[in-house]
Amino acid sequence: MPDPLASRPPRVSCDGVEKTFWLGGDAIAAVGPLDVVFEPGKTTALVGPSGCGKSTLLRLIAGIETPSEGAITIGGATPAEVTKAAGLAFAFQDAALLPWLTVRQNVALAFKLARRAPDARRVSDLIDLVGLKQFADARPAELSGGMRQRAAIARCLVTEPGLLLLDEPFGAVDELTRTRLNAELPALWQERGTTTLLVTHSIAEAAALSDRILVFSPRPARIVGDFAGARHDPRARAGLIEAVAKALASEAELVS
């Protein structure tokens, strides 16, 4: 077997990917058909109406679900091979912290799951970075929703994966912290060379953080808009935001 982590950051490609769920005998098409390539080391924002299937796409890439049709490759390897090599990390919408572990233990858990020796120093550094220094030994129940999401992001980053899948990672984070995180975190993953897929509701966030913005249709998720991001060009952001919003609005009309 070739090393699934040979190319870092990896190129992610979806070829004719479709996902259908069965609900009491009814087929529900959630995704696709979808042909898309995410370039290595780039950050792509996925925007679209609620429930359109963006999260499902992330889950397909993460190997949690398997496509009904088509194939996904991550640096030439299958999602299953990549997950086995701990080559990706997923930040869940609801943080998915283990309630019985402290923040520190939750972050360190990633090392255990990746079958690597834990690096206590790095755990502490990342907890500091997401602003949870004083809460390192608190349990999730004692944190606010935003703090939990930050802990989950720290857990994603701690093992330095080549592919980051972020599902609304800042949904519950307050505006001030969000701005700070938006400024600091992308630098962190981008300097390490990480292919990043970011599902977000905030078009402004998408514009500020990404190299590329994909606009999705209502379910089943299909790409209906493909914009260059404005990560390095703050002046272009206002126009980009307007264009993306317009594309989204026309999709919303399609629904109604």
């Binding site: 993460a62 086995k84 701990a86 283990l98 255990k112 799951l113």
Partner: protein, 520 residues
């Protein structure tokens, strides 16, 4: 709580196949041991049911009636007690302590006393059914009435409504799933209570028939009665689960929000203990005076004290029996817990098997101990092995069911997280499922304390003729009621203390694993 309503798995084949396998094994065992008067297989049981159908139906009806009445009274009591505890938080520990002590009174001893109080009729059957039911429902309700997200209460308060509205609109509906869970656990217990009640002298009923069948070497009949009792209990269990689902009460939710304001000091202080002891003694004397019970058999605390102080021989008799019972109870208790949790762990790595096992475990744990105890002793002999097995089996099924259910509640997102690292089943088990199982396992550990003592004393009474169970039953021939009441006291105190001990341990662990469940 140990049990929660379980939705029928969409695929009914695994449980069906498992049930068929079990029936096949049962028949096989019966065929192998033919002529030993131990096992009767499904064919023989069906034959007995067909042959004595109307008698069994009438008897089951009589017992069911007592059980249902006791069940209603017991659950009513639970509602009242839980309401009181909620309304008068200062008295909560006293109420809980008293409720526990009364729950821990051994059936073998309370039965005859109730018979004397009530005279002829259904009094003891109904009362024992109520006593067997109320405590678990009380506990469930106590958790349920508190398992209200703070935001819901804030919502009620934001409309300027008071505690009563809070109770009606929020707490009552929030506690419904827990209440249903309590009813589910209580239903088989009520049936058991009614059957034991019949042993104190009843005209008719399934308990009466079972004594007759056991004595008369009617193995087919004995197994038929055990089967019917188990079936009724299982049906009741499913019925309340179904009712809960109809009322929109899913399994009790796991709350993950912090509830710091409820987390006062956790200990059960010396003051609480003193209050409970005083209240128990007060009730002991007070009830005996109120019912004007004859001092010939209704010994007061002072009689028991002087009996135990006066003669070392009395203490020795009691202690000998006590250690004998404990030496069987403790290994059975530990074995039952270990096997229940162990099998749950094995099953959870085999999801298909688990889907098959859960409904079976729930059905089997409903089999009343009075009918199974003699069967086990018949099969395993009269040595310690038989009694230890009975205790273990009594604890095994509830533990298995609770642990499976607990692991099923491992948050979905956590399992997804493990999937994104392609974590091994072992990692998933150690880091996610076992911790998720911990609260359910600990709750079974606690609830198993009274069950273990009940099982051990019942086995001793009905089957082996040793230990505390036998000592209490023998009072009928020796009229040594001081000894009986001493035994009642020792058993109730032991059960209550062990229960409290496990509870302490549980709180300690829960603080780590599920702080949201620290409501009681």
């Amino acid at each position: 709580m140990t049990a929660r309503s379980v939705a029928l798995p969409s695929n009914i084949w695994p449980p069906l196949i498992a049930a068929l396998l079990l029936v096949g094994m049962w028949q096989g065992l019966a065929s192998l041991t033919e002529g030993m008067f131990v096992f009767a297989g499904p064919v023989e049981v069906l034959g007995a049911i067909a042959g004595e159908g109307s008698l069994l139906l009438r008897s089951a009806g009589v017992t069911l009636q007592s059980a249902a009445l006791g069940f209603a009274i017991g659950n009513g009591m639970a509602v009242v007690l839980a309401g009181l505890a909620l309304a008068l938080p200062r008295l909560e520990r006293l109420i809980s302590g008293l409720a526990l002590v009364f729950f821990c009174l051994p059936f073998v001893a309370t039965g005859p006393v109730l018979r004397v109080i009530f005279g002829v009729g259904e009094g003891p059957q109904v009362t024992l059914a109520a006593l067997a039911t109320y405590y678990t429902t009380y506990l469930c309700l106590l958790v349920g009435l508190r398992a209200t997200p703070a935001s819901w209460l804030d919502l009620v308060r934001s409309y300027g409504r008071g505690r009563f509205s809070e109770l009606i609109h929020v707490r009552a509906s929030a506690s419904l799933p827990y209440f249903i869970a309590g009813l589910q656990i209580g239903a088989p217990a009520a049936f058991l209570g009614a059957m034991v009640g019949e042993f104190t002298g009843a005209e008719r009923g399934l308990g009466v028939l079972s004594i007759r069948a056991m004595r008369g070497l009617e193995v087919d009949m004995t197994w038929a009665i055990a089967t019917i009792a188990a079936a009724i209990s299982a049906v009741a269990f499913w019925f309340f689960g179904w009712l809960g689902r109809r009322l929109g009460a899913g399994p009790p939710p796991l709350l993950l929000s912090p509830r710091r304001e409820e987390r006062k000091s956790l200990g059960f202080g010396a003051l609480d203990l003193t209050l409970v002891v005083i209240a128990v003694l007060g009730l002991w004397i007070g009830l005996m005076q109120a019912f004007n019970l004859s001092p010939f058999f209704a010994k007061r605390p002072q009689d028991v004290l002087s009996f135990l102080v006066a003669d070392a021989a009395n203490r020795d008799v009691l202690l000998d029996a006590f250690w004998q019972t404990m030496s069987l109870t403790v290994p059975g208790y530990l074995a039952g817990l270990a096997l229940g949790a162990g099998l749950a762990v094995v099953l959870v790595t085999q999801p298909r098997l688990a889907a098959a096992a859960l409904p079976l475990a729930i059905a089997l744990r409903s089999i009343p101990i009075v009918t199974t105890a003699p069967l086990f002793v018949l099969a395993l002999g009269r040595g310690p092995a038989g009694t230890i097995t009975i205790v273990a089996v009594m604890i095994f099924f509830p533990t298995l069911a609770a642990c499976l259910e607990g692991m099923r509640r491992t948050p979905k997102a956590v399992l997804d997280l493990f999937a994104t690292y392609a974590a091994s089943p072992m990692q998933r088990l150690i880091h996610a499922q076992l911790p998720a199982m911990a609260p359910a396992f600990l709750a079974s550990t606690r609830m198993a304390v009274p069950s273990a003592l009940l099982a051990a004393t019942t086995a001793e009474w009905l089957a082996t003729g040793t230990g505390m169970g036998s000592l209490m039953a023998l009072t009928a021939s020796t009229s040594n009621y001081n000894l009986l009441w001493s035994a009642i006291m020792v058993l109730a105190v032991t059960a209550s203390l062990l229960y409290a001990l496990v509870r302490l341990l549980e709180r300690h662990v829960l603080k780590t694993f599920a702080s949201e469940q620290l409501a009681t």
